[in-house]
């Protein structure tokens, strides 16, 4: 079965990831995938990680969700983006699904 969904992608400070995840849990999205410690460049300069202080690291989050959830994510995360920077991307995808997996 095919469903149309939004793919929301966020790259932001690794230190903010916990906050973002809490927000996502509150909104109640069905899931998300996180890639830790990606590197990059943006408005705040190059962020290539710093092994000693564990700062200047980014994380990437991807959320597949419906339109309403996407809007709620954007709203909830705007203050974080304003404060800590990062990039927030939305695109259209389809997901292949059936009844939710019944084991666990």
């Amino acid at each position: 079965m095919i469903k149309h969904r939004k793919k929301v992608e966020i790259v932001t400070d690794s230190a903010e990831i916990e906050t973002v995840i809490e927000l996502l849990d509150e909104i109640g999205v069905s899931g998300y995938t996180v890639i830790r410690d990606v590197i990059g460049k943006g408005g705040r300069g190059k962020r290539t990680g710093d092994e000693i202080t564990d700062l200047l690291k980014n994380s990437y989050i991807m959320v597949i969700c419906n339109d309403i959830e996407a809007h709620r994510i954007i709203e909830a995360i705007t203050p974080i983006r304003k404060r800590f920077g990062g990039i927030f991307i939305v695109s259209d995808v389809v997901i292949i699904t059936d009844n939710p997996p019944d084991n666990r």
Partner: protein, 333 residues
């Protein structure tokens, strides 16, 4: 002042590896210690310092003199950020001033180790309770720094912040204290100290081949990595004018001098006095930056990290420690 002391200090292999790292970085060599290996070395150092200190503390016991020293340590960790803040405010906004002040109020374990090694070369040894001082001096500056920020930043943009983003600026003291006193490095060194204290010499026999024999080797690798990173970070402060680089060299000396005076006052011996002054002089590049990033996100990590890591750390290791020791030999005569 005997220059051979400085040279001896510089020819110590771990220090030479720091320079090797810097050279590698300046030559743009691809030499690097990939993550998370640097974490292995830093966890190891915290563990070994803490455990060793605990065992030493077990030997001496916790007497009156120890408590006085620890009290003085906490006091210094709380006072330094205050005057540092007002000096910094001359040129910087409250956020950056507070973050840098906290950085200099806290301590650097590597500088501590360099001081210990320096003493060893001169055949001296400081008391195990100095490790306790080290552990106790990590956190207070974080709290003081944040208090200063709250006091002096609120006045400026009070209305704006309370209106638009209440839940984020709805600052949590719980989180701050948690981060200050329970962050990984504070907990590991304190925990190891405690385990050393509890397990005493029997525990030392068990762990000393790991905690002591290979210590200098692990330190060499850690410093190699620090050298690589410090050299990379130097560029960050280069473009900020003369104020911050000058601050990064002058304030440690000031802090050390105050530290030496207090050490004299409370009657520490020369070895302990050196370590005490070095703790005062050193600046944190692990615990404090992590805490600042979360509590004062408006402060720029590209200022406070390189100041502590790329200027103050090498300065203290190379010039500072022999200098403070020279001053101590003058005073203690």
């Amino acid at each position: 002042m005997n220059t051979s002391i400085i040279i001896d200090n510089l020819l110590h292999p771990p220090v030479l590896f720091f320079f090797l790292g810097m050279i590698a970085s300046f030559c743009k060599s691809d030499l690097k210690i990939p993550e998370p290996l640097p974490k292995l070395f830093s966890l190891y150092l915290l563990f070994a310092i803490g455990f060793h200190g605990g065992v030493e503390l077990h030997k001496t016991g916790i007497n009156h003199a120890v408590l006085v020293t620890l009290g003085a340590a906490i006091l210094m960790a709380a006072i330094i950020p205050v005057y540092a803040f007002f000096i910094l405010k001359i040129k910087l906004d409250a956020a950056n001033a507070a973050a840098i002040a906290a950085t200099y109020g806290s301590i650097s374990a590597v500088t501590f180790i360099t001081a210990i090694t320096f003493l060893e070369t001169s055949g001296m040894e400081s008391g195990g309770y100095m490790v306790a001082a080290l552990a106790l001096m990590e956190s207070p500056a974080i709290v003081i720094g944040i208090v200063l920020y709250k006091l002096f930043d609120k006045q400026v943009n009070k209305d704006e912040s309370s209106a638009s983003e209440p839940e984020l600026h709805g600052f949590s003291w719980f989180k701050v204290l948690h981060e200050a006193f329970l962050n990984g490095s504070v907990l590991l060194i304190t925990g190891s100290l405690f385990i050393g204290l509890v397990s005493g010499e029997k525990g030392w026999d068990t762990l000393s081949p790991f905690a002591k024999d290979i210590f200098k080797g692990m330190l060499s690798f850690f410093l190699l990595d620090m050298g690589i990173i410090a050299a990379k970070r130097i560029g960050d402060v280069k473009n900020t004018g003369i104020f911050l680089p000058a601050f990064s060299i002058i304030i440690p000396v000031v802090n050390a001098c105050i530290g030496i005076s207090i050490a004299k006052l409370i009657g520490l011996n020369m070895a302990d006095a050196l370590v005490f002054s070095v703790l005062c002089a050193s600046a944190s590049y692990i615990a404090v930056p992590a805490a600042m990033r979360m509590s004062i996100p408006d402060a720029n990590p590209r200022l406070y990290i390189p100041m502590a890591l790329a200027i103050t750390l090498p300065f203290n290791s190379i010039v500072g420690i022999p200098l403070y020791f020279y001053l101590i030999t003058l005073f203690w005569k």
